[in-house]
Amino acid sequence: MSLQTSTLHHIAQLARLRIEPEHEAAMAAEMSAVLGLFEQLAKAPVDALEPLSHPGDPTLRLRADTVTELDARDDFERIAPSMMGGYYLVPKVIE
């Protein structure tokens, strides 16, 4: 199948990725080839099967309701691209 540029833009927007116009054609062509590979899934005899999302036991383990994490605020501030007064800085969202 061939991926339309409009679909690629929609998907990129969902994935919060920007695709440079000069890379669009190559990305659409490569993704079309990969999606072509997926067509064979339609041939697999799976209609009666339940999906398997995880190879092991899917039940979540419970843990004791105790605090295990230490305060690592300084550590996390140190690796942040932009901080001020304990807040992560981003461009203004509300005028």
């Binding site: 920007r18 990969v34 064979q40 190879p55 383990r61 550590d75 140190r78 942040a80 203004k92």
Partner: protein, 480 residues
Amino acid sequence: MSLLSLLAALDDGSTSARAATENALDRAARHADLNALITIAADAARAAGDAADAERARGARGALLGVPFAHKDVFCTRDILSTAGSKMLANFVPPYSATIHDKLQAAGAVLIGKANMDEFAMGSSNEHSHFGAVRNPWDRSRVPGGSSGGSAALVAARVVPFATASDTGGSIRQPAALCGVTGIKPTYGRVSRYGMIAYASSLDQAGVIATSAHDAAIALNVIAGFDPRDPTSVDAPPIDIDGALAMSLAGLRIGRPRQWCGAGIDAGVANAIDAALAVYAAHGARIVDVDLPSSEHAIAAYYVIAPAEASSNLARFDGVRYGHRCANPKDLADLYTRSREEGFGHEVQKRILTGTYVLSAGYYDAYYHRALKVRRLIAEDFARVFNDVDVIAGPTSPSVAFKLGEKLADPVAMYLADINTVSVNLAGLPALSIPCGFSDGLPVGLQLCAPWWQESRLIGAAHAFQQVTDWHRAVPGGAA
């Protein structure tokens, strides 16, 4: 020097941890053209080597006390750069360490550096690294395989006796095969994923690459074990190494899947696999042909499921809390999209987009939901075959190491390099690759796969083979 012989030399005092560390650093420098290390932690390694010697002088004997090793750069190491091969994390110094790093530190192992890898472990050739491609020590014009290409190249060039690695669709076994070393991917849940930078969480599993099955088992038992910080960690008994070493091949039932050995396998690879299975047969194993009919759908299912999980996992890289941030964002959307576009390489972007596509409205049922059903079909195939055989054997990779650049332009050809490895991850099974011969002067890997938690059987079957063959002792020219 193998891990075992180094431990013996450290124990009898004929070498020191500092000398072993200097040797590893020296070899890393001499093999710098492999581009196998992103970070070399020379000063910290020397200090750790000296500390190990001091502990040994006090009579201590940690399982790996004084043994140099390298981490795949997918594992977080506190205060040491951890990049996952990505520009996104090119300056990321984690505030915490992976559980397996803590375990290796506790056992006294000496970290010499962080190994190059395909970006976020997405690749089968180690060409998708922000830090450049890794070269194969057997032929520097060829790929080492991926995504743990740096780990495999370092062990093949005998820079370190073992390296950590991770395997989502073959990323331990395939580079081990292409570099002529031994790599084991444990059962899903045996090794903690805490602090391992995530690609596809239901498939990712950490393991080791070493020069023999015995060495790999020693290192694996150090990093394995229950970890409350990983919700998918399982409290399984450790690998019974002594039992594995004593295992006899007599009567071992080895299944040879027709689907792993058919069209698409290079003749030279097929010949080496046949010869290896003949060795097993000569030592009493019974080789039986088996069928894994759903294998033909494994690549498609894997390349739906893994990118779907990746698109979710990699959503965390938004330029806000850590990692790459674009300059002068004009608004919040621009900050997200441009930071991600600049920080992720082409292959990673393609997989995020593919994953987003298969999860999006209108395509979810046809692709993602259906791929999960195929996953069950594949797991049931294995379960049925393991009613009749003890292990499954076949080629790890359909070809030997290919040329750098050869498959870069054709993503489907690149994905098909994983044809014999991805189904094992979809089912969560343990598997390893051992060197079993050469084709055109390049190493061939034999893949062995066992039922859940049967790593001892895998190690035993691989060790028995390595007792009667020398393929694992072969070293690339100039690396002796």
